[in-house]
Amino acid sequence: MTKSEYLTEYDGIVKTIQLYIDGSKQGKSELMRPAFHPDASFFGYAGDKLATGIPFLFDWIDKNGPAPKIEPRVVSVDILESIAVVRLEVAGWSGNLAGSGVRMCDLFTLLKTPGGWKIIQKAFHWHG
């Protein structure tokens, strides 16, 4: 991968992650849906309860509502040709379900498709 190819892929990946961030901030799952692959999965513990399935995530985002003060930071972006891993730290989660000032860590795995980079899995750890 040349330097310019790398930057193109990097920017494509971050653009996809930004859709997730926008949807989270506004509490609207419709904004983040295009970021996800149709076969995407979702895993993680919310307290003691295992949360799975992308429908759970979208439902949660909608019910949580706006979280205007989230502070997302891209910690790492690793690209291996057609696949990628992004670690995102999000501080300052708030909302109907999140409570306030909560931090969440996300591991996104992405797949390069003809329609751009798509999230194929989101795994999270909720720092409750």
């Binding site: 999965s41 895993f43 795995t109």
Partner: protein, 232 residues
């Protein structure tokens, strides 16, 4: 009663009738390293090494201070049969240094080692060409995705098991951990595997795999395998 399961190549014997509550455990579990070692007729040191480096299927129950181990006889037997079919011979030297499972008072090392044990089950299955051997490494609803020969693929992990079994033994694979990142209850492992071979893999292929893991009930399970096959 003493049953020899397979050829003398492995030299692994199973023993029954020693001191354990087998009569009232319908699943036939072995409840300690001592029992597992006795069952396989090897030292505790050896069976611990097998777990760490060759995917011997040992489970853990998480307790506040110290985890306890247990194993299912049928899983040990399946592992042994495959090991015999495809001998690994990664230096059967008894004096080899123990994996730091027990010595690891460090919380990070305990998690790190638990993750590599799970990954070694995947590797052991890949090497032996048996999907069932790697099954315990995965969460029941795990999925896979990636590109194979230019075609995008995503679906249930069952397809991995079928592919692995259809591919058959790949005795020369040389896996390397390129990255292990642990964030409390989740982890990501980047595994580089060279010298893939077999009926489906062809010869001397290379794969980059990114696994996402979740710590479920004290055991690290793979929830997703993302793969990239490198063109020759």
């Amino acid at each position: 009663m003493r049953t020899q399961l397979s050829s003398a190549a492995s030299g692994i014997f199973f023993r029954g009738g020693f001191d354990m509550p087998e009569r009232n455990t319908p699943q036939k579990t072995l409840e300690s390293w001592k029992q597992i070692a006795a069952y396989l007729d090897r030292s505790e040191r050896t069976v611990r090494r097998w777990e760490a480096s060759e995917g011997l299927p040992v489970h853990r129950r998480e307790h506040e201070k110290q985890d306890t181990v247990f194993a299912y006889r049928h899983e040990l037997e399946a592992w042994s049969r495959l090991r015999t079919k495809c001998p690994l011979d990664a230096s059967p030297d008894e004096s080899e240094i123990l994996p730091p499972t027990e010595a690891a008072a460090n919380a990070y090392l305990i998690e790190h080692d638990a993750i590599t044990r799970t990954m070694h089950r995947y590797i052991a299955g890949a090497r032996a060409g048996d999907g069932d051997l790697m099954r315990p490494a995965f969460h029941p609803s795990a999925t896979i995705s990636g590109y194979c020969q230019g075609a995008e693929y995503s679906g249930s992990v069952e397809h991995v098991f079928q592919w692995i079994s259809g591919n058959g033994p790949a005795p020369n694979i040389s896996p390397r951990f390129a990255r292990i990142e642990i964030i409390e209850s989740i982890a990501v492992v980047h595994l580089e595997v060279q010298h893939w071979s077999g009926k489906l893999a062809g010869a001397n292929a290379r794969a980059s795999d990114v696994f996402t893991l979740l710590k479920c009930d004290g055991e690290w399970k793979i929830t997703h395998k993302l793969f990239h096959w490198h063109d020759h």
